[in-house]
Subunit: 216 residues, 2 copies
DNA sequence: TAGATTGTTAATCGATTAACAATC
DNA sequence: TAGATTGTTAATCGATTAACAATC
């Protein structure tokens, strides 16, 4: 089915297209040209057409793209109608925030379990889900076969836990642990979210902007 | 001072170098070659040497790089010794998690104020900082001149608030609002963190990996 | 000195942009 | 039909990789 391998930059733009098309739909815009969409998103029209054509021609010459249709198609490509089982490990501040703040369901994911090693938290509810002790992780996975693990744990624990989770059948990690996981298996995906790196990038850019101006 | 404009991919790798070098320092590794560092980080040795040479020659032929020295230099480039004033707007789950979870100080940032529009939260303490009502934002900025605003607010409020913050002197946004800010001013920096997009990217990659295997 | 590894230039690769024929 | 805009090919640009002379 998949015509070719899609490049990473294209993949990373897909959720953004999906968001903008959703907004357009709410604004009752029915059709849009690559040029208009490009202006909105700060991309080039060429790039948008190239991106969409990785997956096939969704447009209509002389007309543009049907917003609703395109939104639906990209959603399908991203798998928003799936129900991928997700567990979250580490119900500290960040873990709880992610569990409650983010709408997993509308993104094709279903948060089915939250675990924490701190026995004091056990039973406390987050996002309608009880926090379970780590001792129940193995049996839970054997029973419910989650595919994705969200790691909101300290960096020292990350690698070992990840290895264990792979043995329990986890195929994807959403990793907030400030540690770059080393995964041997080629069919396990890791998406790192390094919040600290992001903040430092921002700081650097502000910083270097100041320097540039001094010299100009 | 700045010899040239540094490309975005290089900038985004800097915090990661900084992290790995910090780890090496903790492991008491004193010297490292670009080849060894490349193997650790999953990069190429060439790329590492190219990256470092954007800022000048930090290595020594026939020897490699001094870990401690390089760590210090990259830290300086990233501005970890600065004390950039940061305020956080929106003390919901995510805002509180970021305020307490992330070490701003070690990254050259100083969190000096937390604001929320919900009057019920006013006075509650997060990360040793009291949550202040939005009404006090203007006077606080006039007094303390924060440079960066962390936006942990709903998407509808983001654009308007950002514009107002710019008028109060904010030069950088760390934006968690799921909304792509439109900023006219060229000397204001935006770093978007779209957690939802990140999750969808992970889901897509897992998804498409499955498809590939079916066909192979 | 010989060996190792950098700094730097040249070659390659991939992604973005431009152009235009196809067609709605 | 004429106008608009796509899908797609070719050209350009930028980033990564390879190669090697400089040098510690």
């Amino acid at each position: 089915m998949s015509k070719q391998v899609i490049s990473t930059p294209v993949i990373r733009r897909l959720p953004r297209y999906y968001r903008f098309l959703g907004d357009l739909e709410l604004e009752k815009v029915e059709r849009i040209s690559s040029r208009e969409l490009a202006a909105r998103m700060g991309l080039s029209a060429s790039q948008i057409r190239q991106d969409f054509n990785c997956f096939g021609g969704f447009g209509q010459q002389g007309y543009g793209y049907h917003v609703g249709e395109l939104h639906e198609i990209i959603g399908r490509i991203l798998g928003v109608h799936e129900q991928t089982g997700v567990i979250l490990i580490g119900a500290g501040n960040l873990g709880k925030a992610i569990a409650s703040h983010l709408d997993f369901d509308s993104r094709g994911c279903r948060l089915i379990g939250v675990f924490d090693s701190n026995p004091l938290l056990a039973g406390t509810s987050t996002h309608d889900l009880p926090i379970m002790p780590m001792e129940t992780l193995d049996s839970f996975c054997a029973m419910h076969h989650p595919q994705v693990a969200v790691l909101c744990i300290p960096k020292d624990a990350a690698q070992q836990l990840a290895d264990h989770l792979i043995s329990l059948g986890i195929k994807g990690f959403w990793n907030f642990s400030h540690f770059d996981l080393k995964i041997a298996s080629p069919d396990v995906i890791v998406e790192n979210v390094h919040l600290g790196d992001s903040l430092m990038t921002l700081a650097y850019c502000m910083h270097s902007l100041g320097e540039d101006e001094e010299n100009s």
